[in-house]
């Protein structure tokens, strides 16, 4: 044990720094801080202007992130929590741990009106079924066509992943009472249900299914990073369910001013221009330079679906039960 502590000591020696600068602690999900996520660039950009030390603390995914903050409660060291989405904000707000943000003069480029006093959006995406253009010729235009087709899909479990939950709400909002019927129709198209996005997307790329539940922006990664234009997202006439990722300031922060400054920075070009090619989502505020080349090839569904945080929380259990019953047959 002492041995491993020593090793850990050696490993963190490079990061430990006794600085006098104020430290802003931002809790976020793991993929945000990875080498390939927005974290490193965001940290550099904010530290260049704030005269502070931006300290990212990562834990799992968005749900794990909220779970951690709830576990820590009032004693949390977080000043900002970044990475919740609209499925989680009701629970977060209910905890009373979060504070309202200062007035922001921002021209949101979100597909919905945004006026939340606590949570500030930083990016958004629309869920969509992604397919390979060279393999799938007849592309369904709605859930019923998908259910009627022979196409196979792999989806994420709503009990363990955000996209899975998004799909649950997508079908529910598009079909209401008829949602169980739609799920029953989809049951024979579903190859399997994975715990998270990574597994589902991996299975799709391995050819295990014709389509995968992902985002309309997914094809942009393949096009821009791999010069591969074979992936596309299928536009559905019911509209596409929206995921808005948000951040908020903790009520108990001792860096209130700095936290406010970070939230404002988050809506600036410096932050927003990092998002498209690291998080592969749409920026909440389109940067002055516009979106990276390649994004113009993506489908831009006209209609976006989104339950308010309170609605989402209210219907979740019933929708989940419908889903579970329909797919368990």
């Amino acid at each position: 044990m002492r041995h491993s502590l020593m090793i850990a000591g050696l490993l963190c020696a490079t990061t430990a720094a006794a600085q006098d600068k104020p430290v802003l602690t931002v809790y976020t999900y793991d993929s945000f801080v990875s080498e390939w996520g927005p974290g490193p660039q965001v940290e550099a950009a904010f530290e260049a202007e704030c005269g502070c030390d931006l300290n990212f603390v990562a834990s799992g995914d968005g749900a794990a992130l909220l779970a951690r903050v709830l576990l820590e409660g009032d004693s949390t060291e977080a000043d900002i929590v970044l990475g919740l989405d609209t499925n989680l904000t009701a629970k977060a707000a209910e905890s009373g741990l979060f504070a309202e943000h200062p007035a922001l003069d921002v021209n949101w480029s979100l597909p919905v009106d945004w006026a939340d006093p606590i949570f500030v959006p930083y990016d958004w995406g629309q869920f969509a079924f992604v397919y390979d253009k060279t393999k799938t010729e007849t592309v369904p235009t709605d859930f019923e066509a998908l259910a009627a087709s022979d196409l196979t899909i792999v989806i994420e479990d709503p009990r363990s992943s955000t996209p899975g939950l998004g799909l649950l709400y997508w079908v529910k909002q598009a079909y209401g009472e008829r949602a169980p019927e739609v799920w029953a129709g989809l049951a024979d198209n579903v190859v399997t249900v994975t715990p998270g996005w990574s597994e589902a997307y991996g299975l799709f790329l391995e050819g295990e299914a014709d389509m995968v539940l992902s985002y309309t922006t997914s094809p942009a990664y393949h096009l821009i990073a791999e010069s591969d234009d074979t992936k596309a997202a299928a536009p559905f006439t019911e509209g596409h369910y929206l995921q808005v990722e948000v951040a908020a300031k903790l009520a108990g922060t001792d860096q209130g001013a700095l936290a406010d400054r970070f939230l404002a920075f988050m809506t600036s070009d410096a932050f927003q221009s990092i998002i498209p090619e690291t998080n592969w989502m749409y920026p909440a505020v389109t940067p002055a330079a516009g979106l990276p080349k390649g994004f113009e090839t993506l489908i831009r569904p006209e209609k976006s679906l989104l339950y308010s945080a309170t609605e989402a929380a209210a219907i979740r259990d019933a929708a989940l039960a419908e889903w579970q019953t329909a797919l368990s047959r």
């Binding site: 491993s4 090793i7 850990a8 990875s34 951690r68 363990s160 190859v191 991996g202 299975l203 393949h222």
Partner: protein, 521 residues
């Protein structure tokens, strides 16, 4: 007179006590922390009971199949000598130490809808078959656990002294006779323990059961725990489900202990093994078939993983290599700690008659990673920042999680050691450090090497609690692999998987080899 109870020496008692305490702290302690925070238990619904039924069913099927299929393979490997046998045995162990997601991808490359098997079937004009569902879950669990069963059984065969086979040969025993008089008692001694070990591993299955289960029918208790923690933030329900898992673990371990009969082969003089009984053609064919089929089943998915990742291995980004180094250090620290804990525990278990210590030793298997992570988080939060603790905590948790496997390997050998040489050592006053150095370590060298290799490899590939604690600078290789996948970089992730596989296997091979490099003149 082998059943006489012996008092434990003070050093041994203290060592076993510390090990047991650490295990209890990490299993029941973390669970207690969660229960304390939740303010009590939650309530379980019909869905939870359905999940429990599915979990137990798939775990029992997976364990039974793994054990049954392992018998012919281990027997064939035990009685045959051929070039490359050692390497094959190491390679056959690989699936057990793979990170789950990598193993699943490998399985699907062969057995999936777009896998080789289905392509072959399609080429022959046959229907494609889907493995998703209970069959897929069991297939994957057998793929992951057959290697463990084979290795543990192989230890069992090695544990039958060559003198007994020599006697059998002298008496003109056929293979059937040998099976009845030598192999069945060995299986009776080891089988229940191996079954329960695999049963418990599968009990806490999460990603495999879900990914290959095909839908919510295949809901496991671990998923229900995950859901309770993450999506409902219902700590009480999570704690109750986790308690249920631990209760199942204790019951299964005790049941196995009742079914276990000591083989009582006595000691041999470590002579080399010759098996004239197996020299007949049908048996040669049977063994060749067992080895070939198992190799194909276990190695084809591995080959798929390697082929997919090899092209990217050289160009992996620097953070992956840094994470690999970090994982290596964590693995070595875990291994050292695991051996320091496992040895006194195994010796104490071998010398005492009660089942308490043995049951405690199995608890980590049935402990939900989420409960350990959350509980530790609650317990340690006040002491230091979770990120600073990430690596030491990961090393400690990995060590404790590997303990049940170490004990599986060590306990039978420690029991034999007691039975065969306990009295002689006592009559000569061999105790303390001298006993450790001149009797325990040399006699337990093989299982110790195996346990060390297994711990190192498991620790290498384990995502475990690091995901809850680590920050960007302290990612381990498996975490980095998941990060690559999460960032769409599936090809790099495949490369990282090959690196992980190579490092895990190398660690296992070196340490296991160290245990087998024979001191014999």
């Amino acid at each position: 007179m082998a059943d006489r109870a012996q008092p434990l020496s003070r050093g041994l008692g203290a060592g076993a006590g510390i090990a047991a305490t650490l295990i209890l702290a990490l299993t029941l302690g973390t669970l207690g922390a969660v229960i304390h925070r939740a303010g009590g238990f939650g309530s379980l619904g019909p869905a939870d009971w359905a999940a429990l039924r599915f979990t137990v069913t798939q775990a029992a099927l997976s364990a039974a199949l793994s054990l049954l299929l392992a018998i012919p393979v281990a027997r064939a490997l035990a009685r045959r000598r051929f070039p490359g046998r050692g390497v094959l045995i190491t390679l056959l162990g690989a699936p057990f130490i793979l990170p789950v997601i990598v193993a699943v991808m490998g399985i699907l490359a062969i057995f999936g809808r777009a896998g080789l098997l289905n392509d072959a079937l399609a080429a022959l004009g046959a229907e494609r078959v889907s493995i998703y569902g209970l069959s897929g879950v069991v297939l994957a669990h057998v793929f992951l656990n057959l290697p463990l069963a084979v290795r543990l059984l192989l230890q069992g065969w090695r544990g039958i002294p060559a003198e007994r086979f020599r006697l059998a040969a002298a008496l003109g025993f056929s293979s059937t006779d040998i099976s009845r008089h030598l192999e069945r008692p060995m299986l009776r001694a080891l089988g229940p323990g191996i079954f329960v070990t695999i049963f418990l591993i599968c009990l806490t299955s999460f990603a495999v059961a879900l990914t290959l289960g095909g839908g919510p029918k295949a809901t496991t208790v671990e998923l229900a725990i995950y859901q309770a923690f993450r999506f409902d933030f219902d700590l009480g329900r999570a704690a109750q489900l986790a308690s249920l898992q631990l209760a199942l673990c204790a019951a299964a371990t005790l049941a196995a202990a009742r079914l276990t009969l000591p083989a009582g082969f006595g000691a041999g003089l470590d002579r080399a093994l010759a098996r004239p009984d197996a020299a007949t053609l049908p048996l040669k064919l049977q063994d060749a078939a067992a080895i070939s089929v198992a190799s194909l089943f276990l190695l084809a998915p591995l080959a798929a993983v390697i082929l997919a990742g090899l092209p990217r291995l050289a160009t992996l980004p620097a953070p992956v290599w840094e994470a690999a180094l970090r994982s290596l250090l964590v693995a070595l620290a875990s291994t050292l700690l695991a051996l320091l804990l496992a040895l006194p525990l195994a010796l104490a278990i071998a010398r005492t008659k009660g089942r308490l210590l043995e049951t405690i030793g199995m608890l980590p298997l049935a402990t939900s990673a989420l409960v350990i992570g959350t509980g530790l988080f609650l317990l340690l939060r006040g002491l230091a920042s979770p990120a600073a603790l990430a690596l030491p905590v990961t090393a400690a948790v990995n060590a404790v999680m590997a303990l049940p496997f170490c004990l599986r390997a060590l306990i039978p050998a420690a029991r034999d050691l007691e039975t065969d040489y306990g009295r002689l050592a006592e009559s000569l006053g061999l105790s303390g450090a001298a006993r450790l150095r001149h009797l325990t370590l040399p006699r337990l060298r093989q299982p110790l090497g195996f346990a060390a290799g297994l711990t190192a490899a498991l620790s290498m590939g384990d995502l475990g609690v690091i995901a809850l604690f680590a920050d960007a600078e302290r990612a381990t290789l498996p975490l980095q692999l998941y990060r690559l996948m999460g960032a769409y970089r599936m090809a790099d992730a495949a490369g990282a998987a090959v690196l992980l596989l190579a490092l895990s296997l190398a660690l296992f091979w070196i340490l296991d080899r160290g245990g087998r490099a024979d001191a014999q003149a």
